[in-house]
């Protein structure tokens, strides 16, 4: 037998091998595995938002901390080399951080006041909700009645 023929024979023999049947309940187990990993859309969105918010906050905090340290590096170094200076440097940093936090709190309070002033002109949340529901129902009813009749061919 020529080598080419043997190649063909091997190819044919492998192609003719039957597929083995997967074990009983294999499909059900896979689907159960999939159901366990398939994320709920709202849940995944919520987690993602929470993660992003947390990351943003941590980044802001790290940036502010680094900025405090950088801005006061000279004073901190001078304090640190004195006897008992390390605790004084820490207290100094804490005081600076507290000052910055109070500024941030003031800014947040200002923003909140501005927001409440702007929203004072808006109706109550339940009134807005009711109006949205009413408008949606009206639009749905109108679009249903305006739908063209399907032509039978």
């Amino acid at each position: 037998m020529k080598p080419d023929q043997t190649d063909e024979l091997i190819a044919r023999a492998i192609a003719a091998l039957p597929y083995r049947r997967s074990p009983e309940g294999f499909g059900a187990r896979v689907m159960a595995g999939i159901a366990a990993v398939a994320p709920q859309p709202w849940y995944a969105g919520l987690l993602k938002t929470a993660g992003l918010t947390l990351t943003a906050w941590v980044s802001a905090l790290a940036f502010v901390s680094a900025r405090i340290l950088y801005a006061n590096l000279g004073e901190l170094a001078a304090l640190a080399i004195q006897p008992g200076g390390f605790s004084r440097a820490l207290a100094f940093t804490a005081a600076r951080a507290a000052l910055l936090l109070s500024k941030l709190a003031a800014a947040a309070s200002f923003a909140s006041e501005m927001l409440s002033a702007a929203s004072a002109w808006l109706p109550a949340w339940y009134e807005i909700g009711f109006a949205v529901l009413f408008c949606s129902a009206a639009i749905a009813a109108l679009s249903k009645s305006a739908r063209p009749v399907r032509q039978g061919i």
């Binding site: 190649d7 597929y19 997967s22 896979v30």
Partner: protein
């Protein structure tokens, strides 16, 4: 890719988990057989095939529809099987291939290989080959994939695939000739 299969993939991508049952119906025996022939252990094969399907579902968004779905799925299955082989401390030399020495066959030697080979024999021969070779032979002949498609499945260059195919065939021939009682 067949239309029905394409539609199932699209439905899965659209968030319809139940459509994956259709994909499972089409491929479960093929993927399980592939894993079983590589791992040679029904329990390990079932685990690897199951893992492959779950990973495929999870990573379905990364599937590029320009290529056949089957080769993408077989790539996921190949990775699951390689992980299982590594976990079982079985040697899978992927970086440096140790090509076994093949005996020289002098031309014109009369060989007593039958015109057809019983499936049990070919199955046993495939099982005795290193997974690197049995895998390419299965993909090429059982799954009817070309060298480029196999290269995508294995994540290896096409030249490597061709070399493995050649070596795999040669090793099979050696076994066949040995069985037939031929002398080299």
């Amino acid at each position: 890719m067949p239309e029905a299969e394409k539609e199932l993939v699209l439905r899965c991508l659209g968030g319809d988990t139940s459509a994956f049952a259709g994909i499972l119906d089409i491929y479960q025996d093929r993927i399980y057989s592939f894993a079983l022939r590589l791992l040679k252990d029904p329990v390990a094969a079932e685990e690897a095939a199951q893992e492959a399907f779950v990973k495929a579902f999870r990573g379905l968004s990364s599937y590029n529809s320009a290529y056949p779905f089957s080769s993408w799925l077989f790539r996921v299955a190949h990775n699951a099987c390689m992980d299982a082989l590594r976990a079982g401390n079985k040697t899978v030399s992927l970086d440096t291939e140790d090509f076994p020495d093949l005996p020289d066959r002098s031309a014109g030697v009369e060989l007593k290989v039958e015109d057809s080979i019983a499936s049990e024999r070919i199955e046993a021969m495939l099982a005795s080959l290193p997974p690197l070779y049995s895998e390419v032979l299965l993909l090429a002949y059982k799954e009817n994939m070309g060298s480029s498609e196999i290269a995508r499945v294995l994540g290896a260059p096409e030249g490597t695939v061709k070399a493995r195919l050649f070596r795999g065939r040669e090793l099979m021939k050696v076994k066949l000739y040995r069985e037939a009682g031929a002398t080299f």
